[in-house]
Structures are given as structure tokens and as C-alpha cells.
Amino acid sequence: MATTTALVVKTVAPRPRRVPRALGQFARVFFRDRQAVVGLVIIAITGGAALAAPLISPWDPLTSAAVERLSPIGTPGHLLGTDEQGRDILSRLIWGGRASLLAGILPTVAAGVVALFLGLLAGYLGGATDHVIMRALDVFFAFPLVLLAIAIVGVIGPGMNNQMFALAVVLVPYSTRVVRTATLSVKPLEFVEAARALGASRGRLIGRHLLPNVLPPLLVYTSTLVGMMIVASAGLSFLGLGVQPPTPDWGVMVGNGRLVLYRAAHVATIPGIVIVVAALAFNFVGDGLREALDPRARR
């Protein structure tokens, strides 16, 4: 999982003055990819809905509506029915997007930033630094990802912030590997050598020449992780370690809905579908990014 997207590392010599043109090229390739566009639209809709929740949510997601609990899809006033507590499912989906998307995006971004720092350091400096960083991270690989997250939250206590922190921590080793591999493959290239020969400082080398080349693979990798993190955070919340009731969260909704699966299947399946769709959307965008950032595809 960690390596599939990471191994194909493309290099781009820095062309700072032509940034607008590069962006245009990138956009052209990206938007030519129909899947990627669909993914982006889905993310925009779910993200937008989550942001605008107070404005568009038809009901309070926390209090039960006047109708019966477990009312089916299409109940007047409750488009997607009500859940096991008699709360409007659509409203909970809209509000739940906040916790779920945040839990998907924030840890991956945070882990990405840390990974950039560690990975560039390990890859560029090599030697003892590389060994210390990478062997330390290898320890984390000994544990299954979710199990490690459970252990961390178990120590620092349950709650949404702690859960996101734990997920970020467990992602660092994976992302760092991607960055380090990319760094190693760029470092020996001629333009880097040339820059060094011209007397570029270490900071300039890393910031100006290496960073732009390791960023794309990390970006691609990170985007595919978001979906996975939505699911992982759902799992943690289900164990009582993440989002605390009654805060809506897609994963929690699936978890609660399982208890009424035979009687009212929609309670679990609707948020389940939303999770799948959101995760897919992030993967589509990730694929689109890879294509668009690939110099060969641009030509």
C-alpha cells in the first residue's frame, strides 16, 4: 500500500519563471481526466455541504425529530429517513462531513509536512542521519497501522483531536519513505549537481531543487490516503476512541446503524455509501494528480 504510488518518481527541473505556464499545463491535463474531475466535484460538494451545514441542514443533527425512529427513505420531511435515535439522517450526513473529512484530510496533511522534513533530511544528508531517522521509523512499521493508532489514543485519551493526532503519527513513517525515495532519486541528477557546483547553499538546494520534485509524489500518495483515513477514523470512533457521541460522523453512523441492519438497512448503508464515494473521489483526484504531474503525460 505504501509503495505503489511512491516508486514511480518523475523529475522536473525547476523552471521558476515559467510557473504560470506549468500550472496551465497541469490544469489542462488534470481537467482532461474525466474521473479526476468527477472526484473533484464530489469533494467540492461534500466539503461545501459540510462547510455550509448550519445553512443547509434541514434538521438539528443532535435532537430527534418529531417522527418515529428508523423511518424509511422518503419519509416526508426526512428525505433519507431517521436513524436509531430518531434523528434526521440527511442532516447527520451533512454535519458528519465535518468530522469525517477533517479526520481524513488533517492527519494526512500533517503527516505529509513532517514527512517532507524528515524524508528530505534523511534522503539528502544520507549516512548516519538517514539511518537514525529511517530505522526509528521502521519501528512503527512493526505494528499494524490502526492498532498503533489505537495504542496512541489509548495512552493520550479519547477524543477527536487526539484521534487525528494519532492518525497523523502513524502515517508519518509511510509518507517519509515516499519523500526519502523521491529525494534519493532526484539527488544524483545533473541539475542538482550543477546547482551545487554553482555554489548553491544546502538550504537552497533542498528548498529550490529537491522540494519541487519530491512534492508531486507525496501529493499523489497523500491524496489516496485521505479515503483510508476516513475509514480508519470511523473505526477508532466505533471503538469509542475518536469522535464522541452524539457528534455525527460517517463512520459512527455506520457503526450505530449495524445494530438495526435487518430492520432498517438504510441507516447503515447510506453513510456507508457516502464513505465509499468520498474515498473513491479522493482516489480519483489522486490518480488525476499523478497524471497531471507526470512530465511525460504533459507532452
Binding site: L70, L239, G240, N256, Y262
Partner: protein, 551 residues
């Protein structure tokens, strides 16, 4: 007819006949024998079948299988099949309010007038699973393991678990080969019932085996006198027992018992539907109707179960009795039991467990009254409401559907202004929090408990049992209650004792409102149609030697 004979006869009649039918027939007939002959036709078709395997999809883990050094309902459902004590509860009947206390490895016993000693006539011809004969020496060995700190085989862990039983025992003596005498430092009226509870089970264990394995390893190869003996324990997965061929009483019907661990309610129901397991407990309430339609047998019982909150007496808000009283009136328990729990539980208004002498189903000190609750909050100076944190677990022994229930309660409380933040923990972490006690800022700790002994209220409400000396998580302390608990403990007359316990409950609920009971679970058991003869008694565990499995 003495109790044991009735018990034996009851055990012999096929379970298709309701016990009540049988008793009625027996009473109407000239003699008990005539009644036994008058077995209805319907029942004749249901002669117990020997053989086969009975699989129980268990809703959580069992603790170690050393009965004296373990606790919890789930564990006792396993150890109860392998071990026996001097006395037992008669779990052959579902239609009684309280399970009767009957002799088991003792045939009879007497209590001295001053309550300071009990003498047991032991049953002859009883063997442990390893062939060791059971006699007074073996019994003394078992008791000393639990209480005599200078005995060579004393086990501190057993001592701590059985503390509610052995606290006042000063001696165990073999008067002759089949007579055992226990002496006490203080009269302890509920002692008999307390020997029958699941928290520290004073069951008789084989001295030979303990000498062979040592105290700690005994749990890996437990040996008792019960109708089933140990085969294997794969932690987290399954426990297997098989019929003990040399059992002194009526032999078990099934050859093998398997306890499969299935924590997740949805998975449990699925396993029952596919036939992987033969019966389960605690189905999701919303599944019950469907299961009944699919011909599964659903049995309920008046188990000694209370789902309740320990209110934190050290919390700044809940220090005020007006706020605690407001709490009692703020939750619509009837609606919750009817809708969320689908009638699988009854609203609880008292801290006396059902299936006990002091239980009064009509006692209802409060009613759902959010307006009055708001007025009380206003009087207490928090008219605009306040925030607090409540704790519960995500699952666990007897916990039903804790998170959904807590959310439901949280919503009702929000309506009167008590804004509860919920914090949920996995079961094992949650239990460890119990021994730390609640901190200021934390409003309440939720638990599901209860016993067929009214002594239970002593365990949860006595001031000397605050953490870390006990499980009085909410730091409740009332000298008047402590005094009455002393009175009750020494009162040997059952009726008078029940009256004292009732009085204690009135103080706890009305004067102090220090506990917040929500409901009494009806302890649903769902069985495959092929399981016959299962009785769901008013207890949290059941005997598995009487049911059988039809082909």
C-alpha cells in the same frame, strides 16, 4: 419434601411442561408421585436427548477460569457449569421472583443462634473431575485458600475477589469426614446469598490439582465437581467443556459445551442465524421481533440487573442535592424502554435489584417531569443550565447498548439544560477507571450490575468502599446509610432485613438522589429452535446441563 428433592424431581421432568403446571398437578394429586406420572402428551414428545454440542455465542470475554479468583457474569456462565459450592441457587425455574437457595455439595446446614458459626453436612459420593474425593478436608482446603492468610496454599487474588464472602470467616474445620464447620467473627446475614454471586465464587476446587499446578496455573487446568469438565480455553476465541461421566447428580444432556466469543451484537445475531451458535444473549433490541418471526425462541427473565449512573458527589454541580433530584426527573425512561430498547427492559426507579427480597416493583419516587426539573435547577442557581461529562463504555457485561442509551439520555438532559459531554471507553479500560473514582467535572459513571442478594447495595454505597478500597465510584457517603447497612448485615430475620434494605434505598433515592437508575434489563436469551429445555431464570447466568439439542 426437602428442597433438594423437589429440585431433583423438577430437574427430571421434561422442560416442555411448565414448572407451574407440574406443581399444580402435584398439589392436586394425592401424592407427588401421581403428579409426576401425569406428564402431558405434549411433553412426552420432548424427552431430553443425550449427546451433541451446545454452542453459546458469548457477548464478551470470560476472565480466568479459577472461580475463587475471578469475577463477572460472563465468567460465571462458564465456571458455573464446572464448579459447585456448598449451596446453590435453584435455576431450574423461570417463574419465580427470586431463585431459591438450595443445598448442593452440602446436604443440609445449620446456623448457630448467635450467627457466629455454620455447620454443613456434606454430600457423600462426590468426586472431583480428577477423581479426588470431595469431603470435609477438601472443603477446608478450598475455604482456606480464600481466607486463611497463613495457609500454605493461600491465594491473595482469591482472597481479594471473595472478600465479600470471607471477610468475617475466622475458621474452617473438618469436624468429621463429612461435616464442615465455618466460624465467623460477626453475624453476616446475607452470607448464603453472597456465596452464590459471580464476583469471587467460593466454589469447591480439587486440592490435588491445586497442589499439582500451584495457585496461579490452576486457572489453566481447572478441576471442580460440576456436571462439565474443562477441555480447552483459547483466549479471545472459545472455551470448550465436556460432560463429566462420574458426576454425582443427573448427568448433563449434551456431550460438549462451547463458549464462542462474539462481542459484536450484529455479528452475534448473524452467527445465530447461520447456525454457527445455538444461542446468544443481548440481541440488538431492534432485531428481536424479526428473530421471533424467524422461529427463534426468545426468553426473558426478571434478572437482578440495574443499568444506572453513579452520580459524582465530589463534583461542584452534583454536590447540590437539588441538581441530583432534577436529574432523576429529566429522563423519559418509559419512552426509552419502549422505543430505543423495544421493550427489552423496564424503567428502574430504585437501587434495589429485581429478584431480591427487598425489591418493590411499585416503588416510584420520581416521575418524568422536565418542568419540575428545570425549576429545581433554577432554585439551585443554574437555571440557564450547565455542562458536565458522563462516562460510559462502548460494550461490556450487561451493558446492553450503552452508547445509544447514553445518547438518548443525553438528549433528554439537554432539554432541561444539563448539557452532557459523553466520553466512551472500551470495557477493560472502563473498568480500570472504576477503581480510580470520578474526578470533579465528571458528573457520572455508568454501570450495569445487581445481585440476588440485597447486600449488593452495601458494595456500591458504603462510604468505606470508596476507591481504591471498593467500587463506590461516586464517593457516596452517608453515616445514616452506613449505620443501617450494619444493622442489615447483622439482622438474621429475612423479612426484617429486607425492610432495612428498603429503608436504605429510600434514603439513597429520595434524600440523597446519589444514584441515577435507568432500567432493568430483561436479560433476553435467543435460542435456535433446536435447543430444548433451556430455562432463563431470574439470574444473570443459567445451567447448561439441562438443555439439549434436537437433531
Amino acid at each position: 419434601m426437602d428442597a433438594e428433592k423437589i429440585n431433583l424431581m423438577l430437574r427430571m421432568i421434561p422442560d416442555g411442561v411448565s414448572r407451574r403446571d407440574f406443581l399444580r398437578t402435584a398439589a392436586a394429586g394425592a401424592a407427588g408421585a401421581a403428579g409426576a406420572l401425569a406428564v402431558p402428551k405434549r411433553a412426552r414428545a420432548q424427552t431430553p436427548k443425550k449427546g451433541g454440542t451446545l454452542v453459546y455465542g458469548m457477548e464478551g470475554p470470560s476472565d480466568i477460569l479459577d472461580p475463587q479468583a475471578t469475577g463477572c457474569w460472563l465468567t460465571y456462565r462458564v465456571t458455573f457449569q464446572m464448579f459447585e459450592g456448598l449451596l446453590a441457587e435453584d435455576l431450574t425455574r423461570a417463574d419465580v421472583a427470586i431463585p431459591r437457595v438450595i443445598p448442593k455439595l452440602a446436604e443440609s446446614y445449620t446456623t448457630a443462634k448467635d450467627g457466629l458459626s455454620r455447620t454443613f453436612k456434606l454430600r457423600r459420593g462426590v468426586k472431583f473431575h480428577d477423581g479426588t474425593p470431595f469431603n470435609a478436608q477438601a472443603a477446608v482446603f478450598s475455604w482456606e485458600r480464600m481466607f486463611r492468610k497463613d495457609a500454605p496454599h493461600f491465594y491473595p487474588r482469591a482472597n481479594s475477589y471473595t472478600s465479600y464472602v470471607v471477610e468475617y470467616i475466622t475458621g474452617a474445620e473438618a469436624v468429621d469426614e463429612y461435616t464442615l464447620k465455618l466460624t465467623f467473627s460477626k453475624p453476616y446475614a446475607e452470607w448464603e446469598r453472597m456465596t452464590l454471586q459471580s464476583w469471587g465464587e467460593p466454589m469447591m476446587i480439587s486440592p490435588t490439582q491445586v497442589k499439582k499446578t500451584g495457585n496461579e496455573k490452576f486457572a489453566d487446568a481447572p478441576v471442580g465437581t460440576g456436571p462439565f469438565k474443562f477441555v480447552e480455553n483459547v483466549p479471545g476465541d472459545r472455551i470448550v467443556l465436556e460432560r463429566f461421566k462420574d458426576y454425582w447428580g443427573t448427568a448433563a444432556n449434551v456431550d460438549k459445551l462451547v463458549f464462542r466469543r462474539l462481542d459484536d451484537p450484529a455479528a452475534r445475531v448473524a452467527a445465530l442465524r447461520t447456525g454457527e451458535v445455538d444461542f446468544i444473549l443481548a440481541p440488538p433490541p431492534d432485531e428481536v421481533e424479526a428473530l421471533k418471526k424467524e422461529k427463534f425462541q426468545v426468553l426473558q427473565s426478571n434478572a437482578p440487573h440495574i443499568w444506572y449512573w453513579h452520580v459524582n458527589m465530589k463534583d461542584e454541580r452534583f454536590k447540590d442535592v437539588r441538581i441530583r433530584k432534577a436529574l432523576q426527573m429529566s429522563v423519559d425512561k418509559d419512552k426509552m424502554c419502549k422505543e430505543l430498547l423495544q421493550g427489552t427492559a423496564r424503567p428502574a426507579w430504585s437501587m434495589i435489584s429485581p429478584a431480591t427480597a427487598a425489591y418493590d416493583p411499585k416503588y416510584k419516587p420520581y416521575s418524568y417531569d422536565p418542568e419540575k426539573a428545570k425549576a429545581l435547577l433554577k432554585e439551585a442557581g443554574v437555571g440557564s443550565g450547565f455542562e458536565t461529562t458522563f462516562w460510559t463504555s462502548t460494550s461490556g457485561s450487561g451493558q446492553m447498548i450503552p452508547v445509544a442509551m447514553a445518547e438518548w439520555i443525553q438528549r433528554d438532559l439537554t432539554k432541561v439544560g444539563i448539557r452532557v459531554k459523553l466520553e466512551t471507553f472500551d470495557w477493560i479500560t472502563y473498568l480500570s477507571k472504576m477503581f480510580q473514582g470520578l474526578r470533579p467535572g465528571h458528573g457520572a459513571y455508568q454501570l450495569s450490575w445487581g445481585m440476588t442478594s440485597n447486600f449488593w447495595i452495601d458494595i456500591v454505597a458504603r462510604s468505606t468502599r470508596q476507591p481504591d478500597k471498593g467500587v463506590n465510584v461516586g464517593w457516596y457517603a452517608n453515616p445514616k446509610v452506613d449505620g443501617l447497612l450494619d444493622t442489615a448485615r447483622a439482622e438474621l430475620d429475612e423479612k426484617k432485613r429486607a425492610a432495612v434494605y428498603k429503608q436504605i434505598d429510600r434514603i439513597i433515592m429520595e434524600e440523597d438522589a446519589s444514584f441515577f437508575p435507568i432500567c432493568n434489563d430483561l436479560n433476553l436469551v435467543v435460542l435456535s429452535p433446536k435447543v430444548k429445555g433451556f430455562v432463563n431464570p431470574p439470574e444473570e447466568w443459567f445451567q447448561l446441563w439441562t438443555p439439549w439439542v434436537e437433531a
